[in-house]
């Protein structure tokens, strides 16, 4: 009897706890996704997942990769991580989390459709897309840019916007890719700063500035301008001749998840043909090469990706951010 009433009071406490906790955590089989996808895409992604797994109650929190990571790290430090799943811009950040023993491996994931080297061989994280960073221009711009060097032209003075690595995970990879591949190295970014380029906020801010005509050129992730152009925005995306940088928007499960089976189902869904076709329908280049890319993209084998060393990038992450900040500080 004693035991029973004890259990009952524990159950009552748990109920009270569930009521106290955020609504997202209330239902059984709940998952929280921390993502850097724009809200509309994140919603479409979880809607498609829910259609396949109606028993799982999944919700998401969205912010730029560095900010969502700061949120997660603060929660980890407080011993109360809210997220079960991460879907963020880049693999470098995932490698950092893997190193810090925060992630859970998903041994059973089926990656047979994917080329080797795309996912983590130890299966802690999995690439879901290919997101390249190139150049966007407003259709009223005086010239059509074809090369990264075009952004240094006097005609582009004061007219270039780009995301800051402090706000965007893709922008950090992009910065490292450019400085290690362009002949000027960091000198390229010093040139941009001297040409009055603005580096504040994330890719969304760049889209707003260029679509709004406040800036005429920008560095930006491919899907935003390609998708907005289809809706009638006066913007065009260019794959510069030197090549583009790329991130893979990897997904990973936190090892603190209370719902590993549902979390694995979410990963499996993103990696499935259906999940990849959804990514394509949203306007992203799918990670699975056998799934057709969406309208507005060139053939996949014509996209040239700048070589990039993730291990070196992870080691120099702080230095790279600091260097970028120093160049663009007024």
């Amino acid at each position: 009897m004693e035991r029973l009433s004890m259990n009952r009071s524990i159950a009552a406490l748990a109920m009270a706890g569930a009521l106290l906790a955020s609504p997202a955590l209330a239902a059984e089989g709940a998952l929280v996704l921390y993502t850097s996808q724009p809200q509309t895409d994140a919603q479409a992604t979880i809607d498609a997942f829910k259609a396949e797994h109606p028993e799982v109650e999944i919700s998401f929190v969205r912010d730029g990769t560095p900010k969502i990571m700061a949120k997660l790290r603060a929660e980890l430090a407080a011993g109360a991580p809210q997220a079960d799943l991460l879907l963020i811009a880049d693999a470098v950040t995932m490698e950092g989390l893997k190193r810090d023993d925060v992630l859970m491996a998903h041994e059973g994931a089926d990656v047979s459709a994917y080329p080797e080297g795309l996912h983590d061989p130890a299966k802690f994280w999995f690439a879901t897309k290919l997101i390249t960073t190139g150049i966007v221009y407003n259709d009223a711009a005086p010239f059509v840019p074809a090369s990264w060097e075009d952004l240094l032209k006097p005609e582009a003075k004061g007219l270039v916007a780009m995301p800051s690595p402090l706000s965007s995970g893709a922008a950090l990879i992009h910065t490292v890719s450019l400085v290690s591949n362009l002949p000027e190295g960091w000198g390229y970014y010093e040139g941009l700063a001297a040409n009055g380029a603005l580096a504040e906020g994330g890719n969304g801010g760049v889209l707003k500035a260029v679509a709004g005509g406040e800036k005429l050129y920008g560095m930006i992730v491919d899907f935003m301008p390609i998708r907005e152009k289809a809706k009638g925005a006066p913007v065009t995306f260019v794959f510069p001749e030197e090549g583009v940088s790329a991130v893979t928007e990897p997904v990973a499960i936190l090892k603190t998840t209370k719902n590993p089976e549902a979390a694995k189902a979410f990963v499996d869904f993103l990696l499935s043909k259906k999940g990849q076709e959804m990514a394509s329908a949203q306007g992203y280049l799918p990670a699975d090469p056998s799934v057709a890319p969406p309208e507005g993209y060139p053939a996949r084998d014509t996209i040239r990706i700048l070589p990039f060393d993730p291990a070196a990038a992870l080691a120099a992450e702080q230095d790279n951010r600091a260097r970028f900040e120093a160049i663009f500080q007024k």
Binding site: L20, S22, Y34, S59, F60, D63, K71, P142, L198, G204
Partner: protein, 564 residues
């Protein structure tokens, strides 16, 4: 029997000492505890070097600069409107006054969003008029100038409200006497009205500075994209950029903000308290300023002001919300309601944010309204020494910038509560607590004014008949002052519903507020969706204003800012 009745002030505490103790404990927990915790952290951290970093100094300077310049603009514009609305025979004064004051009730982040979509080269409004800046022109409102301008426009009605209240205290006899002595209208304005309005002018400028200094929504949307950081946006950026690791620095900066803001806030309060005791003559000031042939130009000017602060920004928001996407041409055939469908039905986050904002604002308003009646009653009956001690403490969380209160709440709740071991950090309760602390003085104001006007005879008679305190509150006081309690609650709901600064630091998965999702959508470049959220939220605010206005005739004067 009569001799034993409670005296008008001071006595009558006997039966309710315990009750008073409970009420004042609540005040201490809501108002004093967070601030004391912040003080402790800042004193313990002690790192003055954090405060003297170039980024902190630059942000402090930007805060002071934008605060002072925007207050000057607000004083100029708000003062001009006060003269037109309070002293002149301007036609259509009532609609102009109401719309002008309503512009202040739009959330600052909504105002900021509206001005950015209105002013840039992509502005649907300016494009329709052929006035849009050429492509490649920076948005004139992004950056320092825009922050100052929009802050000034947003706070001008605050100045007008204060000045209109002040004008009512000037005896009309003075104007008549000067007029008989041959003084012209301009001379009366310059030599009679202006000097007498000195205290209100000082207080209004100080309060406009305080409001601008603590504002987050406007510098976040207009300043941050250009790297123009004020103290609130700097603290925000550091905290979201490096998590609670930056909490020490945030605490120090918050303390600096508190000091910088409490001096002018206390100054304004002191000036207003002194001037409130000055007695007017038999007749309050009449509208002696006949506009004559300037009537029509003045009317056009007043409507232009209303257009700039309210109608054009709202129009720009509508255009941006129904455009196919930001930057695309808006034509009758391309207009779409898809963005409203997206944010009101399809997107869980925005739907949840509406629900959360209703729940947080409603919960805080309800709790505070329940608390307001006994608390206002107790404060009214308390000795003036207690009242003078407690009232400033209650005001504290509202006078402090929202970001300072948010930091204080994080410090207070990041560890589990002692004794009970519960943690409310990263739950909805921390936001509710912060709202309750912040908006307590807003709820309290109207019931306190109403109770002060109450005849005590009825209550004393009930006491003689043996009615206890609760029974008297329930059956004697409440029936007389319920409109004031309801209005206080609704005003707090309105402010909490519009709120961004506090929740921007306290939200977590599932507890996003409307302010947070608006800001987040805008940052993700989803300007049309952000505009749809902004308009929907503004519609709720407008409905609330109508609801509160219905109570207007039964309220003490000065409760509703848009009634004058």
């Amino acid at each position: 029997v009569i001799a034993s009745l409670p005296a008008r002030r001071g006595g009558g505490l006997g039966e309710s000492r315990l009750w008073l103790g409970v009420l004042f404990a609540i005040v201490l927990i809501l108002a004093v505890l967070p601030v004391a915790r912040l003080l402790g952290q800042a004193a313990g951290g002690g790192a003055l070097s954090l405060l003297l970093q170039p980024a902190s100094l630059a942000a402090a300077w930007n805060s002071i600069e934008s605060g002072v310049l925007s207050a000057a603009l607000a004083l100029l514009l708000g003062g001009g409107m006060a003269v037109l609305l309070g002293l002149s025979d301007l036609p259509q004064r009532r609609p102009i006054g109401i719309l002008f004051v309503l512009s202040m009730l739009m959330a600052p982040q909504v105002t900021a969003l509206a001005f950015t979509v209105m002013a840039g080269p992509a502005s649907p409004l300016l494009n329709a008029l052929g006035l849009a800046p050429a492509a490649g022109t920076p948005n004139p409102l992004i950056g320092k100038g825009g922050v100052i301008l929009v802050l000034g426009l947003h706070h001008a009605p605050l100045v007008t409200i204060l000045l209109l209240a002040g004008l009512k205290t000037i005896p009309h006899e003075l104007v008549e006497a000067a007029s008989l002595a041959g003084a012209g209208k301009a001379a009366i304005l310059r030599w009679i009205v202006l000097p007498l309005m000195g205290p209100q002018l000082v207080a209004a400028s100080l309060l406009a500075f305080v409001a601008a200094f603590g504002n987050f929504g406007i510098p976040a949307l207009l300043g941050m994209p250009a790297g123009y950081l004020t103290l609130p946006t700097l603290i925000f950026r550091q905290l979201v950029g490096s998590g609670t690791g930056a909490i020490d620095q945030a605490a120090i900066l918050s303390m600096a903000m508190a000091v910088l803001v409490l001096v002018p806030a206390a100054g304004a309060a002191a000036v207003l308290a002194r001037s409130a005791t000055r007695r007017g003559g038999d007749r309050p000031l009449q509208r002696f300023l006949g506009l004559g042939r300037w009537r029509m130009p003045a009317l056009a000017l007043a409507w232009t002001v209303v257009g700039i602060v309210l109608l054009l920004p709202l129009g720009a928001l509508v255009a941006s919300a129904i455009a196919p996407t930001y930057g695309a041409r808006l034509t009758p055939s391309s207009a779409t309601l898809a963005h409203f469908a997206e944010v009101l039905w399809r997107q869980d986050v925005t739907v949840r944010a509406f629900r959360n904002s209703f729940a947080f604002a409603g919960g805080a308003a309800l709790v505070l309204a329940l608390l307001a009646l006994p608390l206002a009653h107790a404060l009214d009956r308390a000795s003036s020494r207690w009242r003078n001690l407690l009232l400033p403490l209650i005001e504290l969380p509202y006078a402090l910038p929202g970001i300072v209160l948010a930091i204080a709440c994080i410090l207070l709740f990041v560890k589990p509560l002692p004794l009970v071991g519960l943690t409310i950090y990263a739950t909805p309760w921390i936001i509710l607590f912060a709202y309750a602390a912040r908006f307590l003085p807003v709820v309290l104001k109207a019931p306190m004014a109403a109770i002060a006007q109450l005849e005590r005879a009825q209550e004393e008679a009930a006491a003689v008949d043996g009615a206890g305190l609760l029974a008297r509150l329930r059956h004697v006081v409440l029936p007389a002052v319920w409109p004031a309690v309801a209005a206080g609650g609704l005003l707090a709901f309105l402010l909490a519903f519009n709120e961004l600064t506090v929740s921007a630091l306290l939200w977590t998965a599932g507890t996003e507020t409307l302010g947070v999702v608006l800001f987040s959508l805008e940052e993700a470049g989803l300007v049309s969706e952000a505009s749809a959220v902004a308009l929907s939220a503004t519609a709720v605010v407008a409905l609330l204003v109508v609801a509160v206005d219905r109570l207007g005739d039964r309220l003490p004067e000065g409760t509703l800012p848009w009634r004058f």
